[in-house]
């Protein structure tokens, strides 16, 4: 990339931090989680040895998983705030146009169409990855909480569900890792060496190539601006946020703090 090339702002500091936290958590969770799934392999044992034993590996996994779970809750609140209070658009939301874009891109790639589809701020490839990540994180957090507190959960669901959750946790993890290694690596490391999520800005040429509609709009209107705060929206948001936080704390309280011994009927 030559120095004279014009750079367009693509991400904000919030995006950069979110991505960075996710990156650290994801890599850490894969490194501490995979050896637990493939415990009988030599590489798994070596990796666990590097972390300082299975107990510490597991501790790291739990800490990183907690951070990722908090980030999921944070992201949910963030989305509600930005969309419903600040009235900003939600460009990650999938739409019918994404299906058509995918069809047109395939037609173009196969040589049946003269021009590639013109896409907006997020291409269908980015949306697939984002939605898979959010959905996958939700699955991982939920199944992870089941695996962390099996004694507690078995009072709510049949024991088989706990083992099914374990299977899902491992399967979803493998799916996520392989998706990142193929889809993500191809689109932002191979197809383009795209550092905009770290540097916030992207060169005009790849920007126009991948997001022509957004560049047009940026040049016409600039970045979308948040609406002025409305008191009732802030109050509703505060109530919703408080409810979400309270429910999260209550779940953790029930899982961790309520004494397990209180439920013991027979002891030997």
């Amino acid at each position: 990339m030559s120095g004279s090339q014009e750079l367009l702002p693509r991400f904000t500091g919030r995006h950069v931090v979110n991505h960075l936290v996710m990156l650290v958590c994801f890599v850490g969770l894969v490194l501490t989680g995979l050896p637990q799934k493939f415990a009988d392999h030599m590489w798994a044992k070596g990796l666990v040895l590097l972390f300082g034993g299975v107990e510490r590996t597991r501790w790291l996994h739990h800490v990183l998983g907690t951070v990722m779970a908090l980030q999921l809750v944070w992201h949910l609140l963030e989305g509600v705030w930005l969309h419903l209070v600040r009235r900003l658009p939600m460009p990650m939301m999938p739409a019918l146009k994404d299906v058509l874009d995918f069809r047109d891109q395939v037609r173009f790639n196969l040589g049946f169409a003269a021009d590639p589809p013109r896409m907006d701020r997020y291409t269908f490839a980015e949306k697939i990855e984002y939605l898979a990540l959010v959905w996958g994180t939700a699955v991982m957090v939920l199944t992870g909480l089941v695996l962390l507190y099996p004694v507690r959960w078995v009072n709510l669901v049949p024991g088989e569900v706990i083992l099914a959750a374990k299977a899902a946790h491992g399967g979803e993890a493998l799916l996520a890792l392989l998706s990142i290694l193929t889809w993500h690596v191809y689109f932002v490391h191979v197809r383009q060496w795209n550092t905009s999520i770290f540097k916030r800005r992207l060169a005009v040429e790849p920007y126009v190539e991948e997001h022509p509609l957004e560049v047009e709009r940026l040049r016409r209107d600039g970045h979308p601006r948040p609406a002025a705060l409305q008191a009732w929206r802030v109050v509703v948001f505060a109530a919703v946020a408080a409810a979400i936080i309270l429910v999260s704390v209550a779940v953790v309280w029930w899982l961790r703090v309520v004494p397990a011994g209180a439920e013991v009927v027979t002891r030997f």
Partner: protein, 403 residues
């Protein structure tokens, strides 16, 4: 009375150096005397042979104190001594039973009779034979292994609990070689009468570990061995090792038990005979406890592990078959095991374990279908991604050529 005792006393001390002994020592008392005697008799003799002929009568405190040379070496009364004396066993005249026993043992000489491949003195010493309670005795517990290991390569005994107990912990009651193998009457382990023959091992160990051996013989393994001589079931030494017996309270032993049980229980041919699943090992390692144990053993084999290993649920010396115990009793026992580490666990907690069953459409269908879902969705998703990427790469190359 006192006079009589005095007379007896004098006669004993006199006997300690009987007149005939003095005669023997004239030639055998020191090296020069042996060489001089040989010269006088016109025999050529090398230094090593001469040195081996220097001897002394049984010293005070030894069991043979006061026994005259000629009592054991009767033929030596003739001078020059007759040919073949060295082949005759001097112990045989008094210890007929012992010699007869050795002649029936693995240490017998092919030549038979009083000739022995392992001569008495190889283990007992020659003239300085002492009672087993004397620390100088070759039969004193800490001295036994040295004698046996002079010929037998079983140094691992010294690293086992019994060897360490005798040698290091000063336990004279801990097992020495002869505690398990016997003394004069040792026979090969393949012979049915051997103390270490498979079906006799539990009785041999049971001499000290009595209650454990009884429990074992009542277990599914022990009963099969003692009642029907089943060659597949383990006896004490198959899990604990005969010589390098490890302290079962060591973390290393506990962590190794999964492999110990797996030796037989992952053997398809052996388990097929009894209709036992060989998936027990894989299903254990795939489960949370097994995963932890497997990784824990690889990285910190000497640290204690609190996750369940085979025997935490199945027991060890008292292992019973689920076919005879019944699932109800097994479930009750399993729950107690669960509660030892999971104090809040109730009866429904057991349902969170497949009991070594591999999930199938009929048994644990939810787990089966979740696994099936990912077995399908992972290759399908990644395959779709790779296919799309391949097409995209080709299209971009073609486009670049056009430009």
């Amino acid at each position: 009375m006192a006079f009589l005792l005095l007379v007896v006393h004098f006669s004993i001390t006199a006997a300690a150096r009987a007149a005939s002994d003095e005669g023997c020592l004239e030639c055998h008392g020191n090296l020069e005397a042996v060489q001089a005697a040989a010269e006088a008799l016109g025999i050529t003799i090398d230094d090593a042979r001469a040195a081996s002929l220097v001897t002394f009568p049984a010293p005070p405190g030894s069991v043979h104190e006061g026994v005259e040379c000629l009592t054991c070496h009767a033929a030596a009364v003739e001078i020059p001594h007759p040919q073949g004396m060295a082949k005759a066993n001097p112990c045989a005249s008094c210890h007929e039973d012992a010699v007869a026993a050795v002649n029936r043992s693995v240490h017998r000489d092919p030549l038979g009779a009083t000739s022995l491949r392992a001569p008495c003195w190889a283990c007992h010493g020659a003239h300085d034979v002492r009672p087993a309670t004397d620390p100088r005795s070759t039969l004193y517990p800490p001295n036994v292994a040295r004698r046996c290991l002079a010929c037998h390569e079983r140094q691992d005994y010294l690293q086992g609990v019994h060897g360490l107990g005798v040698q290091l912990a000063g336990l004279n009651v801990a097992a020495t070689c002869v505690s398990c193998h016997g003394g004069h009457d040792i026979i090969g382990p393949d012979e049915s009468g051997s103390r270490v023959a498979r079906r006799n091992v539990s009785f041999t160990c049971g001499k000290c570990h009595g209650r454990v051996a009884e429990t074992y013989r009542a277990s599914v393994h022990g009963a099969a061995l003692t009642r029907s001589d089943n060659p597949d079931v383990p006896t004490c030494v198959d899990c604990h090792e005969a010589h390098n017996t490890q302290d079962p309270f060591l973390p290393r032993f506990r962590l190794g038990t999964v492999e110990t049980c797996g030796k037989c229980h992952s053997n398809r041919a052996m388990m097929a005979k009894y209709g036992i699943s060989t998936a027990v090992f894989d299903t254990y390692v795939a489960d949370f406890h097994g995963t932890t144990a497997e990784l824990f053993r690889a990285t910190s084999p000497d640290q204690p592990l609190n996750k369940a290993v085979c025997y935490d649920c199945h027991g060890y010396h008292d292992i019973g078959s689920i076919r005879t115990l019944g699932t109800k009793q097994v479930s009750e026992r399993l729950l107690l095991r669960c509660q030892a580490c999971h104090p809040g666990a109730k009866a429904n907690f057991i349902s969170a374990w497949t009991g070594h069953y591999v999930p199938s459409p009929s048994r644990y269908p939810l787990i089966y279908y979740v696994k099936l879902f990912y077995a399908f969705i992972i290759p399908a998703t990644v395959g779709f991604f790779l296919l799309y990427i391949a097409v995209d790469v080709i299209a971009r190359r073609r486009q670049r050529r056009v430009e």
